[in-house]
């Protein structure tokens, strides 16, 4: 070994192969040999095999005896795996991935708000209102970094307050779309006053247990968010996977 490694060889191998497959450099159907990967990555068989096993569990490759390690088509990948999402966001698939995430979020958050209104513990309802108020202040004063941070916490709290662990798990990916919107300069100098009010509406509705209102207000936020982000993925073709192919 020449280099002292910051990350483990295993981690690097997974990352190396994952980015190349998801990024499209290794196309679907491409076959690799374990031995070849050893040379390419300068690691031993154990490292390659453990990495391939992980990629296999993500649906990125399959191993076939006497043939090698074959790259699977994109529709076999697990689109909910954090690694796959990260790799897609880092490569060509960024636009399509952001659209998928935004659509997922626009579907989930209103229902999460509904559930939070029905089920969230009081402490979360209180915190939600505090954050919404702080968002209004930060938004009006144009403190955008603080606004972004509060925005993330707000939506994370709605998802978490739903009491649905699948919803709560989307927090990381919501964070990605929110920061993405800011990074790509898609946020105005000041957030719209209406948007600030909608966040307060959500907080109040959840606070008072009004599921219908919470959903409605959340949907308005989602519509606005989608409209803001749309330029990011414009022109990206949609993919329709035949249902029989799992």
């Amino acid at each position: 070994m020449l280099t002292t490694m910051s990350t483990s060889l295993h981690h690097r191998a997974v990352e190396h192969l994952g980015t190349r497959i998801v990024g499209g450099k290794l196309p679907s159907g491409h076959v690799m040999l374990a031995e070849h990967l050893e040379d390419e990555l300068n690691v031993s068989r154990s490292v390659v095999r453990e990495a391939v096993r992980v990629l296999q569990s993500l649906g990125l490759v399959e191993t076939i005896k006497r043939v090698g390690i074959r790259v699977l088509p994109a529709h076999r990948w697990n689109p909910f795996d954090p690694l796959v999402i990260r790799w897609r966001l880092a490569g060509d698939g960024r636009g399509a991935q952001l659209r998928s995430l935004a659509e997922l979020r626009s579907a989930v958050e209103p229902v999460a708000a509904e559930l939070a209104a029905a089920n969230a513990p009081d402490s979360m309802r209180r915190e939600l209102l505090e954050i919404a108020l702080a968002m209004r202040d930060a938004g009006r004063s144009g403190d955008m970094p603080r606004f972004l941070d509060l925005d993330i916490r707000f939506h994370a709290l709605v998802l978490s307050g739903s009491g649905n662990e699948m919803f709560a798990n989307l927090i990381g990916q919501v964070t990605e779309t929110l920061t993405g919107r800011t990074v790509h300069g898609l946020m105005p100098e000041h957030p719209k006053e209406a948007a600030l009010q909608w966040h307060l509406d959500v907080a109040h509705a959840i606070g008072s247990g009004d599921a219908g209102k919470a959903r409605e207000a959340s949907m308005r936020i989602m519509k606005e968010t989608i409209a803001d982000l749309e330029p990011t993925w414009q022109g990206q073709p949609r993919v329709f996977v035949p249902v029989d192919r799992r």
Copy 2:
């Protein structure tokens, strides 16, 4: 080796550990040693290590030097991974898992119907209508196995027709809730006439590109489905994960 193996040792090891962790037999914080696992499973280090690596990528365990392999708390698991879902459905978590899936589905399908109305290829729209009509026939004549099959295909087609690969990936899990409803005797002798009509409404709305109507009709189906399934998870406590803990 004594036994000829039907499934690979790797597969068996992943399954063995996964079911025990998700099933709660190995509680959060429990520490195992790789060597101990070798003895327990009667497999070699490579098998154990590769299995542990896969479980690590699912968020079920972490490996710590000088300590061992530690089971992670449930909120660290990837709730979207097919393996995790399957293990939860097979164990104590079945009720909570079904609720999560049903809620996710009730959030996603109306939006998927909306998107399908806007984007689905014509062939899918046509097939959707055919299936909805066939569902009506099967429903009225009380051919429930055929109805279930058509129902699955219908909802799979809506999800797939959205052109969102994350939605399309939920097909398998939707199948689980639909078959679960039938298996648990939660379906009436004949599906309600209204439900049959709602499916036709969705198909027609998507066929004619009416996104709003598609969403509305889909939401009605979802409300009904949730109501049907609710007994399955009654009394299951909700879990609220603090937002700061990832």
